[in-house]
Symmetry: C2
Subunit: 187 residues, 2 copies
């Protein structure tokens, strides 16, 4: 029953993405890519990360990125330390498209209409579901730094990533990281 609902909402979302993206000659997967890039941290804005997030092949993603780049929505930047790595930066134009389209108005309006209490319940329940899926997938949780086992508080303004050995700001820890690892729970 819940799966029916998820499946339906997923189709609604995809239809909206097609509709919104269509105005700019974009496909649904382009919108999903752009949206991911707007939510991920500075270690996770690479073709490989997009590939893992969407669970496609790197060849497929490479082609889609070429299209999105050709429309002037992202820009490629070679990493300074590792010249194999490319960072995908959303352009000003890309940000405008994204701001107009995501979330699609169908969802922002529907969510606005919902009672606050129902929204709070929905958020908590979805969080439980996502965590269960992440556990089930047992790798690649693609969540925000704040909920990662490697994230350590330093003071009230900074945190520290035990994996990349990099400092993280309060803004940083709200971004999605490809290296995100679930906090271990003993059961």
């Amino acid at each position: 029953m819940i799966f029916n609902q998820i499946e339906r909402i997923s189709n609604l979302l995809r239809a909206e993405e097609r509709k919104e993206g269509g105005e700019y000659g974009l496909q649904a997967v382009h919108m999903e890519t752009l949206y991911y890039l707007s939510k991920c941290n500075r270690f996770s804005d690479t073709p490989a990360s997009v590939t893992e997030y969407l669970q496609l092949t790197k060849g497929t993603v490479s082609q889609s990125l070429r299209v999105v780049e050709s429309k002037g929505l992202i820009k490629k930047q070679t990493d300074a330390c590792d010249r194999r790595v490319i960072h995908l930066k959303i352009t000003a134009r890309g940000k405008r498209v994204l701001a107009n389209s995501m979330p699609p108005s169908l969802f922002s309006n529907a969510l606005e209409e919902m009672p606050l209490e129902t929204k709070a319940q929905l958020q908590t329940a979805l969080d439980t579901l996502i965590k269960a899926c992440q556990k089930e997938n047992n790798s690649k949780s693609f969540d925000v730094c704040g909920s990662c086992r490697y994230c350590q508080p330093v003071d009230d303004k900074t945190h520290f990533c035990g994996l990349t050995k990099q400092p993280l700001s309060n803004d940083d820890i709200q971004l999605i990281c490809r290296e995100h690892t679930l906090i271990q729970t003993n059961e």
Copy 2:
């Protein structure tokens, strides 16, 4: 925030559909088509209904259906009353594929793990969200007969559809109908 979660779950679902479908040479949209056909009623198993449900164009759907048919998962049947209309029937093979793949195990397992109370809250909250989306879309709600304004109870075993003038069984009213219309609420 809730939108982030929905977007993530939607990507997880699509990835699972690709994975499960891939074993049979099927694409994600093929899985969604098959799943829809397994959940819809006898008035709604047509190419036009699939088109409206997925919000694609009829040309696109026509081609996808040809592929799904060529793999022996559905069969086309011309309607007896209106020879323009085609009914899409899932074959035994199609049913087997569907039973193996939908819901994908990632979701059935994750849902199994969730506490009953959380599940109940999730279901209620998702229902509210879907209803809000249906209202926002103001047409094409694609929901089960039971929640349609045209559905009238006759006795404890049968109902009656005021639109198609057809009797509906208790099983029937749990299937998705393309003519589904929201019960009007005065606000």
